[in-house]
Symmetry: C2
Subunit: 398 residues, 2 copies
């Protein structure tokens, strides 16, 4: 039947990360820093159990019925308050089936096959795959300590545009980036926005980890910065996720941006999901409305912060010289770079034999960039003891 | 920003049905036969409230975490048992965010822009819009009392193929079709499959209403028929929905078909939703596993059957001569055809003034077919009293 496949289906890539996760799952004694999983200890089970029961009992006639494709209005309004953007109109925000869903709809709205999206290199493969499934070609821009390098972004854009390429948007995770854990500082944010304004290229800002800040000052989002300092309310669309602060199984996220973008995104939602789960939306709404979110996020930070510290400490203790790692102020990931002689694709097989897992860095680069000496470590899923032991095992293989 | 839209986004149609529903919603005294809504009285609120609470308390670590893109394995296995297809392999079935989601992924798997899908005329606009969003051109085949007319299907296919068109699949709702309420009998099912086999064109069988049979014998699905009598297990993919038997707000459906189709559909899911809501999937699994579904479906039938009877009786009592209507053995809809002089698009405005609503028949035809003298009535949402009064009002306008 493969002869019937559409062109996009026929060319669809396999997910290497899923393969890696399969190899490491359920192996006794395996310490996995590979997945991007929140800790189950972070799930507010008791509150959610109670809220699901209450919402269905009290609001079941409403939430078990068909709901709006742009999301539950109750939830939208509560998010606006929680995010301190009460002035947003209803057609500037939509609820999505997780943030990947918002990223997919944004891409579907703008991308014709062959169009170009600028992304961070390394970047998050889940988003890159969603974009490529719409026919986008991903062009990576190198990063430094503060994220995408503005000079490189500018040169890349100039080169592409002079070749007549259709560059549709810039995709970035400014906070605790996946995979590097890096955060754009305020100057970098300004520099990136200036370039986007100059080239008239919109930005898709992905913010899955923003709430998980362990230390340092919260920085204004690209989205807020463009609206306020740059007086350009249409430049940035933001995609946010409840996966890291409530539970990924609930599949909830939202997107906020100009009505010209959100409205067609809602049309794509109508045609592919009809709406997100209405019961779950209302439960999340009541969770926030009843004031549980701030304390709950603090609980997650109290869980992850010592795990990051444990991982950094273990890296310092066990890693040989000439190994570099990022020191993220939050989120879930640390990025490690070795001497160029180390090939982490090869290291992976030996690591799994020794019951420790990571994702090789090569999996995070868009086509055309081949870097082999890096890897991503997740510190949210394993406890401190596992982290110390896992890093010790890993360092022993070098 | 519209200049940045992708071609598919720029050409996307507005949903007339959504506009109609907006006009009729919340108007005091309005009796609406327009929507396709289940009755809130059919929602098993007490059971669901209890199950959500139990599942999160007992299985929260699992179901609040990221889940598989093909769906919760527990739920998949319970569905296989419930549908009496325990022999299906795991890559022949996937859970979807409602059945429209399955229809979208199926279409995305097979359709390149410009490819053709054969559909019933009249057909369900929600599915047709999902298909058109992937760039499909819809070609309608006329229906009689038993659904798509085989001779017309054959002639249509011959004509298209002789013109070199790429016909990718046939889409049908064989049971209590939306909008007509008609059901394909066994002979018709055989005839349609024979043609599909002869032309080597797969079928997408949409079965949202199958469980809601008030009378008459259950008929074997196209999917089962192709697998058994025709020994062609790859011909038919089936899309099913829990919207009419649990609650549309839960956004749950599933698709079953050959691995060659389900596997790429799962890849599309990975890239656009990651997975359906894992909590909701497990709740639906426990609902079925604990044996509630059969009684619950009987309760819905006991609710809708008298409503259908009331509507048929009211049509007989109030409608003038020369009006035809279908007499569905189940489902949610009755199709009414008037004398050619009646224009139901015009009738709609007068009906809404008189506080009764329906969907004009013209909204159910793919491009190129223009029929104005029909309309769709929903009988699941209004109670008997409202049904009698609403049909009286409608007939009074003729």
């Amino acid at each position: 039947m493969e002869e019937l496949y559409s062109k996009t289906t026929a060319s669809m890539q396999h997910s290497f990360i899923r393969e890696i996760l399969k190899v490491t799952k359920g192996v006794p004694g395996m310490i996995s820093f590979a997945g991007g999983l929140p800790s189950p200890a972070s799930f507010p089970k008791h509150l959610l159990a109670e809220l699901f029961s209450n919402v269905i009992t009290q609001e079941g006639d409403d939430v078990l019925q068909y709901g709006a494709s742009d999301g539950d209005l109750v939830f939208k309004n509560i998010i606006k308050d929680f995010e301190e953007v009460p002035y947003l109109s209803d057609d500037e925000i939509m609820i999505t089936v997780g943030s990947t869903n918002g990223i997919y709809f944004f891409t579907r709205t703008l991308i014709d096959p062959g169009d170009i999206i600028i992304c961070e290199a390394p970047g998050f493969p889940g988003s890159l795959a969603a974009m490529e499934s719409c026919g986008a070609r991903m062009v990576g821009v190198e990063m430094d300590e503060y994220g995408m390098v503005p000079e490189s972004l500018k040169v890349t854009l100039e080169k592409l545009i002079s070749k007549g390429e259709s560059v549709k948007f810039i995709y970035a995770i400014p906070e605790f980036q996946n995979p590097t854990g890096r955060t754009m500082d305020l100057n970098r944010r300004r520099a990136i926005i200036e370039i986007a304004v100059a080239f008239k290229i919109p930005i898709l800002e992905d913010q899955p980890y923003r709430e998980l800040r362990f230390e340092g000052e919260r920085i204004i989002t690209l989205w807020e910065l463009a609206r306020t300092e740059f007086n350009d309310p249409k430049l940035v669309t933001i995609a946010k996720s409840f996966s890291k602060i409530l539970g990924p199984g609930l599949r909830l996220g939202f997107a906020a941006g100009p009505p010209e973008i959100i409205k067609p995104m809602v049309k794509w939602a109508q045609k592919s999901t009809v709406s997100p789960d209405c019961v779950t939306q209302r439960v999340a709404a009541r969770f926030i409305e009843q004031g549980h979110m701030h304390q709950h996020v603090q609980n997650i930070i109290d869980l992850y912060h010592p795990r990051r510290d444990a991982m950094i400490k273990a890296l310092k203790t066990h890693m040989p010289d000439n190994v570099y790692w990022t020191n993220p102020e939050g989120g879930m990931f640390i990025w490690v770079a070795f001497d160029k002689s180390v090939d982490t694709d090869k290291l992976f097989a030996r690591a799994v034999e020794n019951k420790v897992a990571f994702i090789p860095g090569s999996k995070f680069y868009p086509k055309g960039i081949m870097k082999k000496n890096e890897l991503r470590l997740n510190f949210s899923y394993s406890n401190e003891e596992q982290i110390l032991e896992g890093i010790r095992r890993l360092a022993g293989l070098l």
